[in-house]
């Protein structure tokens, strides 16, 4: 078997502090920056990233290069331009960006320098959730070291390109991960989403052209630049490019993160996590965080690519799988998930603000044995009013993904709670 390449995590060793500037450079770090700044035209870099097939790792899979291409020409629209890194990572079950931020902060910074250069941004903010204190400290110290080495600030490496990076710590609200709510939060406003269009590339931070990208997306850039488009494409399976930082949590033997070819099957991923713990069977999987629909145990051969999971009726999302085992109450799990979404609804639009708490109350009622059969029809109805396109942002439709699939797949358990007037699970 081929040895797997792990470009994103090659420098990361468990329970070890991250590489400092010297070690990072000795391992080939910042070479991509040296080869690019002042030598490659920004538009050519954008084109390269388009050709690489890199899809956004924040959950949507949208081409990173095409997103960048929507930035207006700086000559036509002079003034500040921003690159914002989305390191909010509050999607339940997701712990991949933490690994990249804590494990190799210089890789994050190198990715930012290249990406900011490509879109000709002069300031980058890394929006990190407030709970990631270690990530914040490590990023700040790496930024300091990079600045002292002339890799940030004015006239970087004599290229006449200027860039500052600032770390912006959040204060805890899931909606801040939605890219336009994030911009409001960064500006010091109430973090509710903005209407699109205009898209951030046209009117983003303080009304200026802005790109928002996920941590993992940007960490890919130095490797694409250094090793080339063909190499990058060859890393992936199932027609998609690169590697993916997958994760597994739940009752598997070795939960954790695994950098594997994009498009690895769910079966293989679970095998990397050691398979199920003794005494537990896999029942279903949320493949990419709390906002994705359940897959059942007969769907484990699907490739975990954006297209592959979509074809199976769910979404790759963040690629961090949550395993439901046969000894956990599915109704209880859905109640827990909906509690999260109800609490984190930003309250901006009525269907979500009122609908999610209603869903949560009905699930609580069913779980405690007070439910009626009509509640199931009611849940179906409410789910219909919160589906894609019905609310201001994707939070509510994301919340409905597990509910709608769960109502179908776990119908027997729902009815059992109602008929026996109790939850038979301990």
């Amino acid at each position: 078997m081929m040895t797997l390449e792990r470009p994103l995590t090659k420098n990361i060793k468990p329970n070890t502090p991250p590489m400092g500037l010297h070690a990072y450079q000795a391992a080939g770090g910042y070479e991509a920056v040296r080869q690019t700044l002042g030598r490659v035209a920004p538009a050519d870099l954008v084109e390269m990233v388009i050709q690489s097939g890199l899809g956004g790792r924040g959950g949507g899979g949208f081409s990173a290069g095409r997103k960048w291409q929507l930035m207006p020409d700086p000559k036509a629209d002079p003034g500040p331009r921003y690159l914002v890194i989305n390191a909010d990572e509050m999607e339940p079950g997701t712990f991949k960006d933490r690994l990249l931020l804590e494990g190799d902060p210089h890789q994050m910074i190198e990715g930012i320098i290249l990406s900011a250069y490509a879109i000709q941004a002069d300031i980058s903010y890394i929006f990190v959730r407030g709970e990631y204190g270690t990530a914040i400290t490590r990023l700040e110290s790496a930024i300091g070291a990079a600045r002292d080495a002339g890799l940030l600030g004015r006239n970087i490496l004599g290229s006449s390109y200027d860039l500052e990076i600032h770390v912006h710590g959040g204060a805890g609200r899931y909606i801040c991960g939605e890219e336009t709510a994030l911009l409001n939060s960064l500006e010091g406003r109430r973090a509710v989403p903005r209407a699109k269009p205009p898209f951030p590339q046209i009117s983003g931070l303080w009304g200026r052209p802005t790109v928002v990208n996920n941590v993992e997306t940007i960490c890919n850039i130095p490797h694409i630049v250094l090793r080339g488009v063909d190499w990058y494409k060859s890393l992936g399976l199932d027609g998609e490019s690169g590697t993916k930082i997958y994760g597994v949590s739940g009752r598997v033997k070795s939960p954790g993160t695994f950098e594997l070819p994009m498009g690895t099957t769910l079966n293989d991923l679970i095998e990397h996590a050691g398979g199920m713990r003794e005494g537990y069977q896999l029942r279903a999987v949320l493949p990419g965080g709390a906002s994705t629909a359940f897959l059942l145990d007969d769907q484990l051969d699907i490739p975990l690519s954006f297209a592959g999971v979509a074809k199976a009726g769910s979404r790759l999302g963040t690629g961090t799988a949550i395993i439901l085992d046969d000894r956990t109450c599915p109704v209880g799990m859905l109640h827990n998930l909906q509690h999260f979404f109800a609490q984190e609804s930003c309250g901006w639009c009525a269907p979500c603000r009122d609908g999610l708490p209603w869903v949560e109350r009905i699930l609580a009622k069913i779980e405690s044995g007070q439910g009626e059969m009509s509640d199931l029809a009611l849940l179906d109805d409410i789910a219909g009013t919160l589906g894609p396109g019905r609310t201001f942002c994707a939070l509510a439709p994301g919340a409905m993904a597990s509910l709608v699939s769960g109502l179908t797949y776990f119908r027997a358990e729902f009815e059992q709670h109602i008929h026996t007037k109790s939850c038979g699970w301990t």
């Binding site: 339940p92 709970e131 805890g172 109430r190 994760g247 949550i322």
Partner: protein, 155 residues
């Protein structure tokens, strides 16, 4: 309450990262909270003046976030993850054990003022569920039996 010259210098440094002052408001709120345990009305007003915001506007921001406290909390804040993987792997047992040990339920502060227990959303430590934080220290794979040592670490 006044901001000391040291406060103003520290906050001024953060304000300098942004073209508009109010973008520093979360950092400023967190700064006051780190110094005083929570954001009092007086702290709120002082920051509002510094950042050219009205206190009402700033309060709207402050109350939106889970990590900003507008009321006093215990000396140590215990954040116990209540999201899906931790729920599956026994976070309710941890909550019960904490109640046995220090007599507080979620949302409560112990009578001696030492601890506040709060639920928190996924800490991004799901591969070590159940997870919790005490102030900014992260704990994973927590078992009820370890809690006495975690809550009262031997100095």
């Amino acid at each position: 309450m006044h901001l000391t010259p040291a406060d103003i210098a520290a906050l001024g440094e953060i304000v300098g990262h942004y073209p508009h002052k109010r973008a520093a408001c979360i950092d400023a709120l967190k700064y006051m909270q780190a110094r005083h345990g929570y954001v009092s009305d007086q702290s709120l007003e002082a920051i509002a003046v510094l950042l050219d915001m009205s206190p009402a506007e700033l309060d709207e921001v402050a109350t939106f976030y889970n990590l900003i406290f507008r009321k006093p909390v215990g000396e140590k804040v215990i954040y116990l993850c209540d999201s899906v993987t931790c729920w599956m792997l026994g976070r309710d047992k941890i909550a019960r054990k904490i109640q046995d040990l220090i007599g507080i339920r979620q949302g409560e502060t112990s009578t001696d003022g030492r601890y506040t227990l709060l639920p928190i959303v996924c800490l991004g430590h799901c591969d070590h569920a159940p997870a919790m934080m005490i102030d900014d220290r992260l704990f994973g794979d927590v078992e009820p039996g370890q809690l006495p040592g975690i809550l009262e670490p031997p100095d």
